[in-house]
């Protein structure tokens, strides 16, 4: 009994600190809950655009008709029609009306257009692209029109005529030009990308060499034949030269290839490991990373290789510079000064170095043409056994808000912006081997561009 009494009093005496401890634990639970459920960084998928509800242009693109009875027309038309459709579809600004909704009689010239067939359901188009292709001997003439079918009184927006040799390549170029013209008119003054090129690294010849292709993956051609390892191609803003880094006998050096001369041009060699050149938007300077002073740091030099200047100091490796294409006054780069690589920006004199990413493993920044966004490859939860892998992210530099663009597995790396700021090309291993992929800048419509060998490090041309 006395033991019970003792134990009772033990309970009552120790109850008060126990109660306090329990209340404290309760508060701690509440705090943890609040911290976990408060909204953090705005991370989300973008499948749609800005949510402002403005309609996309509903564009109908029936097949062009043959203008003459030349038998070459059939092949040329097939090429032209498919290239034109793909260019307009890839532009990302049109709502393409499916061909199964088109009326049976398709116009080939303005008098043949029946507006009432196009501007109501089922096609319900707001714009119509039509025309004809006429091969005559060795030449082909293409006439194309862009009509606003909702405006019957004055429908014509564009009327163009092109003439070239009657070959598939020439007809492909005409289709690209016409598509670019339509995109320029209806897309608010931003030129289309149908004639732009993508440069990348491919090992399908046995060595890692530089290759170039059209933006849609056609015309893939080898550029360098060095027999060594050549990586990080960066084309100049005027498209005349390609800077890259190549493994020479003394280490990694920056090399320059001239498209005008179709060969390498001399470029000074620096000591150490020199990698990832990046052009300034006026084409006069190159930024790159060099370990000639010990640790890799960012350097700037003229496009001819003179006036070398160091920008970053020795604390941690600084690599992968990317120039601000709008102002030419800032650089984004990757720095390992805190341990894992993170993205930083700085002015072109090396001052005002700001950190943009807060965790994980972030590499390969690419600055958007309008100067507002960075896209880069990020592995947010980096570490042994961590879920996920490298994905492409888009970050607004002013507000540091970011959005994840790729989710579908594989390692996604080396993003590069298109000149219209609407597309991103990147490398992805989601099919098992590294290949080049292209997607819209909101993460949708990803399509594979290369299929053979291993293809990496794409770089989009400036126009």
């Amino acid at each position: 009994m006395s033991r019970i009494g003792l134990s009772d009093s033990m309970v009552s005496i120790s109850a008060q600190p126990a109660v306090i401890a329990l209340v404290g634990r309760c508060l701690w639970f509440l705090l943890v809950t609040l911290a976990l459920t408060l909204p953090g960084q705005a991370q989300d998928w973008i499948r749609t655009g800005t949510g402002l509800g403005v309609e996309k242009v509903r564009l109908a693109v029936p097949d062009f008709k043959p203008g003459t009875s030349d038998p070459k027309n059939t092949d040329l038309l097939q090429e032209f029609n498919s290239v034109l459709w793909n260019d307009l579809d890839n532009a990302g600004i049109f709502d393409m009306v499916s061909k199964s909704f088109y009326p049976l009689d398709v116009p080939g010239a303005p008098p043949e257009v029946h507006f009432e067939a196009w501007n109501v359901l089922p096609p319900n188009a707001s714009m119509l692209v039509f025309g004809n292709l006429a091969a005559a001997g060795a030449n082909v003439t293409v006439q194309g029109w862009l009509f606003d079918v909702k405006n019957v009184s004055s429908p014509q927006v564009l009327g163009k005529q092109y003439q070239d040799a009657a070959t598939k390549d020439a007809v492909r170029v005409i289709a690209h030009k016409f598509a670019d013209e339509i995109i320029f008119r209806l897309g608010g003054g931003i030129p289309g990308i149908a004639e732009s090129r993508i440069y990348f690294v491919s090992d399908r010849s046995g060595h890692k060499e530089l290759w170039g292709m059209d933006y849609d993956g056609s015309n893939q051609r080898q550029i360098t034949h060095l027999g060594s390892i050549s990586i990080s191609p960066r084309v100049s803003p005027d498209g005349s030269r390609l800077a890259f880094s190549s493994l020479e006998k003394n280490g990694w050096e920056i090399r320059m290839y001239s498209f005008d001369l179709s060969r390498l041009v001399t470029f000074p060699a620096f000591s150490g490991t020199n990698l990832s050149p990046s052009w300034s938007p006026d084409g006069t300077k190159l930024a790159f990373s060099s370990s000639r002073g010990g640790e890799p740091n960012i350097y700037i030099m003229d496009a001819a290789g003179a006036n070398l200047r160091r920008l970053t100091s020795d604390k941690g490796p600084d690599v992968s510079p990317s120039w601000n294409r709008k102002t030419g006054a800032q650089l984004a780069f990757v720095s390992g000064r805190t341990g894992l690589p993170q993205i930083y920006t700085m002015e072109t004199d090396g001052t005002n170095q700001q950190r943009l990413t807060d965790q994980g493993y972030a590499v390969s920044p690419s600055w958007s043409p309008n100067g507002q966004f960075l896209t880069f490859s990020w592995f947010r939860k980096y570490g042994p056994g961590a879920p996920g892998a490298n994905d492409i992210y888009l970050m607004d530099i002013a507000s540091k808000q970011w959005v994840q663009l790729t989710h579908d597995g594989g390692r996604n790396d080396f993003p590069s912006w298109s000149p219209d700021g609407r597309h991103i090309v990147f490398q992805s291993s989601r099919t098992g081997s590294e290949q080049i992929w292209m997607m819209l800048a909101d993460g949708s419509k990803a399509q594979q561009l290369t299929f053979g060998g291993r293809n990496t490090q794409p770089n989009w041309s400036w126009k």
Partner: protein
Amino acid sequence: MAAGTEIFFEHSHLGRPLAWSVALHVGFACFVVLWAVILPGSRGSDWGAGGGGDAIGVSLVSTVPLPASQTPTPNVLANESKGLSKSEPKIEEKEPEAIPIPDTDTKNKKKPALSASKKPAPQPEPESNEVPFGQGGPVSGPYGTFSAAGAKGGFGFTGGGGDFGTRYAWYVQVVQRKVSENWLKYEVDPRIAQANRVYITFAITRDGRPTSVEVEQSSGVPSLDNSAVRAIQRIDTFGPLPPDYPGNKVAVEFWFDYKR
């Protein structure tokens, strides 16, 4: 013996901690459920630029020059007011004891008001002193509107060369789309839920650049006015004016309705 076994018999020590534990667990579960159920609205609005419906648009990519996909727009004609073109005399329909003929008269009074609103002249100067501030549905004619998941915007075109909007409706739509893409609603003070309309006027030069951007009629919310002005200033070009348009520039009046 009985006393000895009581030392190890800790039955009484478990009662109170067990009760506390159960109470805390239940309380925590209720808290989580309440947090999830009662407060989704506030969380939803933090995600992006007040996106409505299925468009979880993160505001930061508003300036990626991709158009948004279509979201269902609210019926802009649901507003009862007739538009700013002509202020309506107050129609007092309190004549129930009169002959039904006066009702048809009021209907006729409404029709001329609507057709008068089709004038392409600049509309922000109504004839009477009374300005139906903040109201105003879409005006027909060379004017356009767009809806923005609750926020609306629209504009009118004036300029030499006649009726720009009917001849070049496609260019008008390009302008409409581009301004809506570049309007960052997160620049507006987040405490504002709804605001009056702000009118911005600017001119588009021959090469498509917007110039002389001015606030013509303020909404009363400075951050909204600034965000509207910046939306237009952010734009480099709308694309060159149509080549067969004779004028040198086009004046545009653009209105923004903000609703979070």
